[in-house]
């Protein structure tokens, strides 16, 4: 029986490597960038004369393990708020839930909880959203408590 020839598929290898991040908070852009990096390094090694399997192994080793990459990315934990859909859910779902639970009674507990949601919770969510997009710095946090400040950041907050 003729021995089947081994064929290296970069796409398959990249796909499998990328799937290793399926349970992490890395965004699609992060994964696209890392995959492109891996592909660039692989191609350069192959051009330099390395065998494809060997080049892949070196490129994967050099980029670092999934665990290390995930750990380093998780230090920039609020970067997931760059995702507009996630931001909308985090920004509005608690408010909507409170309104549904109260059913128009406007009890004291509701007013207190809604106040906390509006003035404290939303300030933090908006702050981390703007930080994740590099629009404001850490020291600007308190300015978000001033009336009208958030209007200045309307586009940055609510659009991609």
């Amino acid at each position: 029986m003729e021995k089947e020839q081994h064929r290296f598929s970069l796409e398959t290898h990249l796909h499998v490597w990328r799937n290793g991040f399926s349970k992490t908070t890395l965004t699609k852009d992060d994964l696209d960038e890392l995959t492109q990096h891996l592909s660039d390094h692989f191609e350069e090694l192959v051009k330099g004369g390395e065998d494809e399997d060997e080049a892949w192994s070196t490129a994967v080793q050099t980029i670092g393990s999934h665990e290390v990459i995930h750990r380093e990315f998780s230090k920039v934990w609020y970067s997931f708020l760059k995702n507009t859909v996630i931001f909308y859910i985090l920004a509005f779902a608690p408010g909507a839930a409170l309104l549904l639970l109260d059913r128009g009674n406007h009890s004291n507990w509701f007013l207190l909880a809604f106040g906390i949601y509006l003035f404290i919770y939303r300030t933090f969510v908006d702050f981390f959203r703007l930080r994740s997009k590099g629009i404001i710095s850490k020291s600007d946090f308190w300015t978000l408590l001033l009336p009208g400040t958030r209007n200045r950041y309307f586009r940055g907050l609510y659009f991609s």
Binding site: D29, D30, D32, E33, L34, Q36, H37, D40, H41, T62, I63, G64, V68, I69, E72, F73, K75, V76, Y78, S79, R131, S132, K133, G134, I135, I136, S137
Partner: protein, 116 residues
């Protein structure tokens, strides 16, 4: 990462190195790593994948900005550029590192005179 350099040292120079490269011209992740490797004669290497979280941190601080573009070889790449805030930070870092370098040099010279 090269084992001759401590993790702490690499962590403290990573941001100034990236800002220095981007202060010369815009670049993308893989190219930044290559430039660091070449400039250090291959002695200093990041663990490639950890460069990107650092870029992300610099971006959230407003020191750099990024943009996805199609490169000349039809590849989709994320290019990084230094911002005006980043340029100021770069100047500050340069002055701090110059000072530290001068200080260490002064102390090393003093040590060698004492030993002689």
């Amino acid at each position: 990462m090269n084992t001759e350099f401590s993790k702490d040292l690499i962590a403290s120079v990573a941001a100034p190195l990236i800002l220095s490269i981007l202060n010369r011209q815009e670049s993308y992740g893989y190219d930044i790593i290559k430039q660091v490797k070449e400039a250090s004669g291959g002695k200093l290497e990041f663990s490639d994948g950890t460069l990107y979280p650092i870029l992300r941190k610099l971006e959230t601080k407003g020191l750099i900005k990024s943009e996805w573009r199609i490169a000349e070889n039809e590849k989709r790449r994320r290019y990084y550029q230094i911002t005006s805030k980043g340029e100021l930070q770069f100047e500050q870092e340069r002055s701090n590192w110059d000072f530290m370098y001068g200080l260490l040099n002064q102390l090393w010279k003093k040590n060698s005179i004492d030993l002689a």
